[in-house]
Symmetry: C2
Subunit: 117 residues, 2 copies
């Protein structure tokens, strides 16, 4: 586990939400869990760009921040299902708004990003 060496700023809402949502895959994880992809292996398949490892790590953080919960079925082979807590649910409209802006400006963004790569 990595231990942070500096304290986070917690001045405004943006700082606060940043602490729980700032992670490359966190919004996607929440989004896909909300869409019904609950098992780690399903999420890994939905997000092929991320390594298995990071997804585990970020899921764990989401869990520690009470945005998701998990159910471990005592079966073999192992079966785990994540779900959104009410707290996590409340974030879905926000993530929706973010993703929607990206979708709406898809073409322009794509062009800009590639031009500045």
């Amino acid at each position: 586990m990595y231990e942070r060496k500096t304290l986070p700023d917690l001045n405004c809402g943006l700082d606060l939400i940043g602490e729980v949502l700032y992670g490359k895959w966190k919004m996607r994880l929440l989004w896909f869990i909300n869409e019904g992809f609950k098992r780690p292996s399903e999420l890994q398949r939905k997000i092929p760009g991320a390594s298995r490892r990071v997804l585990n790590v970020q899921l764990k953080e989401l869990e520690s921040h009470e945005l998701v919960g998990k159910v471990i079925y005592p079966v073999v082979p192992p079966k785990v299902e994540y779900y959104l807590t009410d707290f996590g649910q409340s974030l879905i409209p926000v993530i929706g708004a973010i993703g929607q802006w990206g979708d709406e400006h898809d073409q322009r963004l794509r062009t800009l990003i590639l031009k500045n790569a």
Copy 2:
């Protein structure tokens, strides 16, 4: 300048918006510029947690992504003013929604974050 070694994923709206908004201070910069803090020095005072340098760098990226523009006044000492482009403006409601969620859950987030620090 840092040159990236891997290509970005550009699959969905979240990837796209991430490319222009993923940077510790970018949302705050847009927000404060929108509130009327236009000069670099004003922005630096509004965001004391960030080094002068990063703010410059991130402003430059926002500019290259056409979210902000800048006016350089040919005076001495130098005077520069940033402004939101229409494109940048269109992001303000999204940032508002994000910050609002953070504000609404201020107490809970603060507790969670500190507990997991």
